[in-house]
């Protein structure tokens, strides 16, 4: 595995109006690694994640300072096409949010909006993505039924398939398992192990055990600051800072 830097975050500050939600974050992400963000509620994990694909642009009162470089290019540069950027960075949300369309259309959606019209190509890609997301067997006979009829865990894997279909380079996951039962959670964790072969994955989680299980690198956020980042093993066994240790051992949060 080559340790090439995929994203560089440099001195990132983020504001909701006057409230500084992120303070001076500097952090690198490497290709084909899973990085997990942990920290107590409200510490800015989601905010940080949403900076990476500029989803925060939608919030009118928000403001960004500092740089985020994707393959060396600043994603906040005015010349950057946000729409293109977002199709390079996939996102999976806390609660599964399939569109109220058929299973097939859900996965095909990203392809269609990206202008792909070739039917055969779309069908292939949909199948591929569903297989990659380990849900193909469960849905292959009901492709044209509504996606809302799936169980929570299936919906979440469908959302992952949907994100994979547009062939992103990076996958952002914001607490993807928090609405799921243990079995569904386990499936998704296995999936993450699979996917990391081809993608760079960043996952937010509340569940320390999950972070320990799935990630190579763990970053601990607290009150808008990046407190500590390092190899997951190290962080969970020999954290440098007292705060990190307190959090991990459940002293608070």
């Amino acid at each position: 595995m080559d340790k090439s830097v995929k994203i560089e975050v440099k001195h990132l500050n983020f504001y909701y109006g006057n409230f500084k939600a992120l303070e001076d974050i500097t952090l690198d992400f490497y290709a084909n690694e899973v990085l997990s963000l942990i920290g107590p509620s409200g510490c800015g994990k989601s905010t940080f994640l949403r900076c990476l694909n500029r989803m925060n642009d939608l919030i009118s009162i928000s403001r960004v300072e500092g740089n985020i470089l994707l393959d060396g290019l600043d994603i906040y540069d005015p010349s950057v096409d946000v729409v293109m950027l977002r199709s390079r960075i996939g996102m999976v949300f806390q609660k599964p949010n399939p569109f109220p369309k058929t299973i097939f259309e859900n996965v095909a959606y990203g392809l269609r909006v990206n202008g792909i019209k070739d039917k055969g190509l779309i069908e292939n890609r949909v199948e591929e993505s569903l297989k990659l997301a380990a849900i193909w067997n469960e849905v292959k006979d009901r492709m044209h039924e509504s996606a809302l009829g799936l169980s929570g865990g299936q919906q979440q894997r469908l959302c992952i398939a949907r994100a994979l279909a547009v062939e992103p380079e990076i996958l952002l996951m914001d607490e993807p398992c928090s609405a799921l039962d243990p079995i569904a959670t386990q499936k998704i964790e296995e999936l993450i192990h699979q996917l990391k072969k081809s993608f760079t994955i960043i996952i937010v989680t509340h569940n320390m055990q999950q972070a320990a299980r799935v990630s190579d690198i763990t970053a601990f956020f607290y009150m808008g600051k990046l407190i500590e980042v390092g190899k997951t093993n190290t962080i969970f066994t020999r954290p440098n800072l007292k705060q990190t240790e307190d959090y991990i051992t459940g002293r608070f949060g």
Partner: protein, 291 residues
């Protein structure tokens, strides 16, 4: 120490029972009101309703015959109104809700629109008279009436569409944008289909409101008597609500036409309540299906 004694407890429960009965009574009165009105209209009007009544123009100083021109006129006016209000209303709501950056200006505009939704219908009538009938020289006509009714339903249409758009979870928008869709693609492919039930119910309610209004068409579209059916949008028409009004107050044979008045009112009620009922049923169906 125990905080309550049994007798107090009994009193509290008793009071609750009485007050709840009062609440229930109020609800019953509402139901009763609807029932009484509809009952009297049906009891007095159903005899007037027959095939002739629905398919013939009025004859013999409107004491006999039917109300076909009124039905046609009302349909023309309300459909015309919604053809004007729906596209404009939906487009405006999309702009306000999806494109415009929220801020002071948008808030003021929304407040303005809200206000216009509360403007008396007679004021819209005045507006239609001054602008469409006189200034734009449309005369008293279907088009002037439809525009007036359209202007009146526009704020309602914008309001209900906005509500429907707001009800679309943001996560859908985020998911779509996250897949690299543009804003328009997101709106067109995800937001609108999801909001469609809400928009359609709003539309049906808009039509039914336009169909039942009298004041705005008094000066802009409706006439006392024109037995032939309209052939162009510049024709004057008869309309159900106005017909009830003139027969009941300005007609030439008020007592002799009483059963026709009831009959006309009944037809109007069926038309309007029918549309509302469709909207209500449709809405609850779609809500269920959406879940």
């Amino acid at each position: 120490m125990s905080v309550s004694v049994p007798s107090l407890q009994r009193r509290r429960n008793f009071l609750q029972k009485i007050v709840f009965n009062v609440f229930c009574l109020a609800a019953l009165i509402n139901g009763l009101a609807l029932f009484i009105i509809v009952y009297f209209m049906i009891a007095n009007g159903w005899k007037a309703i027959n095939w002739t009544f629905l398919t013939q123009p009025p004859v013999d100083s409107m004491t006999k015959g039917g109300i076909l021109p009124c039905i046609v006129g009302t349909l023309c006016l309300s459909i015309g109104a919604i053809l004007i209000a729906m596209p404009i209303g939906v487009a405006s709501a999309i702009y306000l809700n999806e494109y415009a950056r929220p801020g002071r200006l948008i808030r003021v505009i929304k407040l303005g629109i809200n206000n216009l939704a509360g403007v008396p219908s007679i004021v819209f009538g005045l507006f239609g008279l001054a602008v469409f009938v006189v200034w734009l020289k449309m005369g008293v006509s279907i088009i002037a009436g439809s525009l007036t009714l359209g202007a009146m339903t526009l704020p309602v249409m914008i309001g209900s569409t906005e509500e429907a758009l707001r009800a679309v979870p943001d996560t859908y928008r985020e998911a779509s944008l996250g897949l690299g869709a543009t804003k328009w693609q997101t709106i067109y492919r995800v937001v609108l289909p999801t909001a469609l039930p809400g928009i359609l119910t709003g539309t049906i309610l808009g039509i039914s409101r336009a169909a039942g209004e009298t004041a705005p068409i008094m000066f802009t579209a409706a006439v006392f008597f024109t037995p032939s059916l309209p052939v162009s949008i510049f024709d004057e028409v008869m309309a159900l609500p106005y017909h009830i009004y003139v027969l009941a107050t300005a007609g030439t044979e008020i007592e002799a036409t009483r059963h026709l008045q009831y009959g006309t009112a009944l037809v109007l009620i069926f038309l309007v309540l029918g549309m509302n009922l469709i909207a209500i049923i449709y809405r609850s169906r779609l809500r269920k299906r959406m879940q």
